[in-house]
C-alpha cells in the first residue's frame, strides 16, 4: 500500500488551506485533493462551466507552492505541441557546423571505414536532450521540486491525444522513440484534468483518475464563496444576489449562470454602489450573468416575481 508522505495530514487541513487561499470548497473537493496526493493519482474534474474547475488547480498549485504548468486542449492538439518537439533549426545549424568541422575531425583518418569509426566516437548528439524542446507534459516531469499539471478541457482534444496521455497518467513517464523512456525527475506531478463533458471521456482514461464532479454550489456555500471573493459586498445584497442566482438555475435557460458569473455580478453591483437588488438595476446588469439575448428576453417578464422570491428567501 502506497502511503506517500503528503504535505497535508487530513482532509480538513486541505480544506482549510484552500480556504486560506480564498477557494471555498466542499469536503468532497478537499477529499479529492487529499486523496490525489496520497495515492499519486490524477484527478479528472467534471462539472458545468464556471464552477471553478480550473481555479481548483491554480489554487492547489499556489498552496503547494509548485509551479502550475497548463496545457489547454483543442481539436488537433498533437504530441508535438503537448509533449515534445525536436529543435529542427538547431539541428540544422549543428549539421552546418559539423560540415565545416568535418575536415578537422577526420584529419588523419585513412579510408572510409576509419572515418566512420571516428564519427561514431562522437555519439548520437543529434537526437539528445540538447535538441529536445519540452512541451507542457514533458516539462511537468522535468520539474525537480514537483509541479501541478493542468490539462484543461480534455474533452476538446481528439481521442488519439487521450490515448497518448494514458502512459503519462498511469506511470508518470513518457516514451520518446529516439531517447527511450523519460521518468519524473522529482516527485510525481499532481495532475488535474478538466472536462466540460462535451463528449464522453474514454473509460481507459477515467479508470486511471479519481473522478470529481463539481456541481453548482448550494446557497450557503455560494454565499461563502462570494463573501471570500468580494468581501466588501454588503451582507444583505449578498444574500439577495445568491438567492436570485439560485432561482435562475432552476429556470430553463440556454446557459445558466455559474459561480464565475455570480462573482462578476457581485463586483458589478459593488461598482454601482448598490445596496440591494431592484428591478431596474437587475434589468440593466442582467447581461453580466446571462450570456444569450434569448435568455435575457425570456427572463425579463419574470423578473419582478423572481426578485420578490429572492428577497423573501434571502
Amino acid at each position: 500500500m502506497s502511503t506517500a508522505p503528503t504535505p497535508f495530514g487530513s482532509v480538513a487541513e486541505v480544506q482549510a488551506g484552500l480556504e486560506s487561499a480564498n477557494y471555498i470548497c466542499s469536503t468532497q473537493i478537499a477529499t479529492a485533493v487529499y486523496l490525489a496526493l496520497a495515492l499519486d493519482k490524477p484527478i479528472l474534474v467534471e462539472g458545468p462551466p464556471g464552477v471553478g474547475k480550473t481555479e481548483l488547480a491554480k489554487t492547489t498549485a499556489a498552496l503547494l507552492d509548485h509551479p502550475l504548468i497548463r496545457l489547454q486542449c483543442y481539436e488537433g492538439l498533437d504530441e508535438a505541441k503537448a509533449l515534445y518537439e525536436w529543435k529542427y533549426a538547431k539541428q540544422l545549424l549543428y549539421i552546418q557546423v559539423l560540415k565545416e568541422q568535418l575536415g578537422d575531425v577526420l584529419a588523419g583518418a585513412k579510408g572510409l571505414q576509419a572515418s566512420l569509426e571516428r564519427l561514431h566516437e562522437f555519439g548520437d548528439v543529434f537526437f539528445s536532450e540538447d535538441f529536445l524542446e519540452p512541451r507542457p507534459l514533458l516539462k511537468s516531469l522535468q520539474e525537480e521540486a514537483g509541479a501541478v499539471l493542468l490539462i484543461d478541457e480534455i474533452d476538446k482534444a481528439d481521442q488519439e491525444f487521450e490515448s497518448m496521455l494514458l502512459e503519462l497518467l498511469s506511470d508518470f513517464q513518457v516514451s520518446i522513440p529516439e531517447l527511450g523512456t523519460i521518468r519524473a525527475k522529482g516527485p510525481r506531478p499532481l495532475v488535474f484534468l478538466t472536462s466540460n463533458n462535451t463528449r464522453e471521456v474514454s473509460d481507459a482514461l477515467k479508470r486511471r483518475c479519481l473522478h470529481l464532479y463539481i456541481p453548482f454550489p448550494e446557497a450557503p456555500l455560494e454565499r461563502a464563496i462570494v463573501h471570500a471573493r468580494v468581501p466588501e459586498i454588503p451582507p444583505a445584497l449578498e444574500r439577495e444576489l445568491v438567492a436570485f442566482i439560485q432561482a435562475l438555475r432552476e429556470k430553463d435557460l440556454k446557459k445558466v449562470p455559474a459561480i464565475s458569473e455570480t462573482i462578476d455580478w457581485a463586483r458589478t453591483l459593488l461598482l454601482l454602489n448598490a445596496e440591494q437588488l431592484d428591478s431596474q438595476l437587475v434589468q440593466d446588469t442582467l447581461n453580466v450573468i446571462l450570456k444569450f439575448q434569448d435568455d435575457i428576453d425570456a427572463l425579463t417578464p419574470e423578473l419582478p416575481s423572481l426578485l420578490a422570491a429572492a428577497r423573501k428567501s434571502a
Binding site: 482532509v11 469536503t27 486523496l35 496520497a38 481528439d158 464522453e200
Partner: protein
C-alpha cells in the same frame, strides 16, 4: 472490512456501475488511507474512486446508503417499543410490549455470538409462520411479572437485547447461508428461515414450547416474552433479507430480463415489455455510438500536399524536412431505410426505426421510408417528433393496404432515386411476401446498381424464404447482404456492421 468492501463493490456492479479490478485496488488503498471511522468521509472518498460518471455517482450514493445501513440496525425495531418498558400493555401477547429485556446491562455476548447451528435447527418446518403460537395460546395471558432467564443461546441473547451484537449475529448468519446468492424474490422466505435457523431458532423454539406448557406463571411469561422477541427478530431478519435482495438480486433479475428480451422474437414481445425494449435499444445504441464516434481521418499517403509542405518548412530555411500529406475526412454515407409496415412486419419496423434514430449522433443522415402498398418518406416525422410519436404516426399513415413491393420500389426510385449514389446504403426491412403481385426486380436492380450497399433484413427464418408468396430468392440476387433479423441482438449486429461499413 476487506470482505465487505468486496461485497459492496459487487453490489455496485449489480447497480451498473462499471468497476475494474484496478479501481477495486484503488478503493482498498483509499480505505486504507482514510480509515473506516468517518462514514461521510468514507463515502466521499469512495465516490471519487469508484463511480466515474454523473449517473454512476447517483447509483453509488443509493447503493452506499443501502449497503452500509445495516450497521445501524439498532434503532427502533419494527413493531417493537423502546426497550425498558418491562410491563407495558398487559394484553400483549408479547408483541414487543414486554420490552427488550435489560437493554444492554448484561455483558455483550458480542463477538462470541457466532452463528449457532443448533442441533434441532430444522425445528421450524413452516418457515415464516409464527409457530410458537400454538404453544402460548391455550394458556392465555400470564400477565405482567418477573421473567426467568432463558436457557437457549438465542434466547439469552434476545433477553440481553444487545442490538449491536444481534445485528452482527444476523449479518454473520447471513454470510453463513450465503444470502448474497439470492436470485429471485420468491426466495426471500427461504433465506429468512435459513438465517433464523442459523441463529439458533430451533433451540429457542423448543424452549418456548416447554416453558409455555408449564404451570408456573413466570415460565409462561418468559415464553410469551421470548416469542415476542423472536417475532421481532424475524421481522428484522426479513428486512435484512429484503435489503440484500435489492442489493444483490434485483439488478440480476433485470439483467436476466434484458438478456431474454435481446433474444426473443420481436413479434412475440408483449406490449407491456415495450418500454423495457425501448430502454434496451437506447442502451445498445449508446454503446454503438461510443464504439463508433471516433472520427476517422483517412490519410491518403503518397499524395504530397505541396503548398503545405512548403509553408511548413519555411522555418527550416526551405529545406524540406517535414513533409505534409494530403488528408481527407471520410464523407459519411447516407442511409436509406425502407420499411414494410404492413401487419406482421410492423413491430420489426418499429424497432429498427427506433434503433436507427437512436444512433443520430453517429449516423446523422438517415432517411426513412415506409410502405405497405404505396411508399412515402417519413424522415420528417422523426425530425419533428419524439421517436415514439413518430413511429406511431408512421404506422397509422402507412400500415393497412396489401403489401406491394413492386410498387414500393418504383415509388422509392421516384421519390429518392436521384439521391441514391455510390455512398448510399439502402436497408430494406420486409418479409418479401408480395401477394403474388409483380415483384418488379428490375426496380430493385436499379437501386442495387446505384447504391453502395443494399441490405435486406427479413424477419422470417431462412427456410421459409421462397415458400408461398415469398419472393425472397428473386430479390436476394439484387442485394449485397441478406440477413434474418427478428430479435434485438440480430438488429444490433446488423447495425454494428453497417456502422463499420459506412463510416
Amino acid at each position: 472490512m476487506d470482505a465487505s468492501l468486496q461485497r459492496f463493490i459487487s453490489a455496485l456492479r449489480m447497480a451498473e456501475v462499471r468497476i475494474s479490478p484496478a479501481e477495486t485496488l484503488d478503493a482498498f488503498r483509499t480505505v486504507d488511507r482514510m480509515g473506516m471511522e468517518n462514514r461521510q468521509q468514507l463515502k466521499e472518498s469512495l465516490a471519487l474512486v469508484l463511480p466515474k460518471t454523473a449517473e454512476e455517482k447517483l447509483a453509488f450514493d443509493a447503493c452506499f446508503d443501502a449497503f452500509f445501513r445495516f450497521e445501524e440496525f439498532s434503532d427502533a425495531p419494527p413493531g417493537a417499543s423502546d426497550g425498558e418498558r418491562g410491563d407495558g400493555d398487559p394484553s400483549g401477547e408479547g408483541e414487543g410490549s414486554e420490552g427488550q429485556g435489560g437493554g444492554g446491562d448484561g455483558p455483550p455476548q458480542g463477538q462470541g455470538s457466532e452463528p449457532r447451528k443448533s442441533d434441532e435447527a430444522s425445528g421450524d418446518p413452516a418457515g415464516d409462520g409464527p409457530p410458537g403460537d400454538e404453544g402460548t395460546d391455550p394458556f392465555g395471558d400470564p400477565g405482567p411479572g418477573p421473567v426467568q432467564d432463558a436457557q437457549s443461546a438465542l434466547g439469552q441473547q434476545l433477553q440481553q437485547g444487545d442490538r449491536a451484537a444481534l445485528a452482527l449475529a444476523v449479518s454473520q448468519a447471513g454470510e453463513a447461508v450465503n444470502v448474497a446468492g439470492i436470485k429471485v424474490f420468491t426466495q426471500k422466505g427461504l433465506y429468512t428461515r435459513r438465517i433464523m435457523d442459523a441463529l439458533g431458532q430451533g433451540a429457542l423454539q423448543e424452549e418456548i414450547g416447554t416453558l409455555a406448557t408449564q404451570a408456573d406463571a413466570t415460565a409462561r411469561r418468559t415464553a410469551a416474552q421470548l416469542s415476542g422477541l423472536r417475532d421481532d427478530l424475524r421481522e428484522r431478519v426479513r428486512d435484512f433479507v429484503e435489503r440484500q435482495f435489492l442489493l444483490h438480486a434485483d439488478a440480476d433479475g433485470h439483467r436476466l430480463r434484458e438478456a431474454m428480451l435481446r433474444h426473443v422474437k420481436l413479434s412475440n414481445v408483449e406490449h407491456r415489455n415495450f418500454s423495457h425494449l425501448k430502454r434496451l435499444v437506447e442502451k445498445m445504441a449508446k454503446r454503438l455510438i461510443a464504439a463508433h464516434s471516433r472520427r476517422r481521418k483517412k490519410m491518403r499517403r503518397g499524395q504530397l500536399h505541396v503548398s503545405r509542405t512548403l509553408r511548413k518548412n519555411l522555418r527550416y530555411d526551405g529545406e524540406l524536412i517535414d513533409l505534409a500529406w494530403k488528408a481527407r475526412k471520410i464523407d459519411r454515407s447516407k442511409v436509406f431505410a425502407i420499411c414494410d409496415v404492413s401487419g406482421s412486419v410492423a413491430t420489426y419496423a418499429r424497432f429498427m426505426l427506433m434503433f436507427l434514430y437512436s444512433l443520430e449522433a453517429v449516423l446523422p443522415r438517415v432517411r426513412a421510408f415506409a410502405f405497405s402498398s404505396d411508399l412515402g418518406e417519413v424522415t420528417e416525422n422523426f425530425q419533428r417528433m419524439a421517436i415514439d410519436d413518430a413511429i406511431a404516426t408512421t404506422l397509422a399513415d402507412f400500415s393497412g393496404g396489401s403489401t406491394d413491393y413492386g410498387q414500393a420500389f418504383d415509388d422509392f426510385l421516384r421519390v429518392a432515386g436521384s439521391a441514391v449514389n455510390s455512398q448510399s446504403t439502402v436497408i430494406i426491412l420486409g418479409d418479401a411476401r408480395n401477394n403474388y403481385g409483380n415483384p418488379n426486380t428490375k426496380a430493385l436492380r436499379e437501386i442495387y446498381d446505384k447504391a453502395q450497399r443494399v441490405i435486406w433484413l427479413n424477419p422470417e427464418p431462412e427456410r421459409s424464404w421462397g415458400s408461398g408468396d415469398s419472393e425472397m430468392p428473386r430479390y436476394r440476387a439484387s442485394c449485397h447482404q441478406v440477413n434474418v433479423c427478428n430479435a434485438l441482438n440480430h438488429l444490433e449486429r446488423v447495425i454494428s456492421d453497417l456502422l463499420l461499413a459506412v463510416r
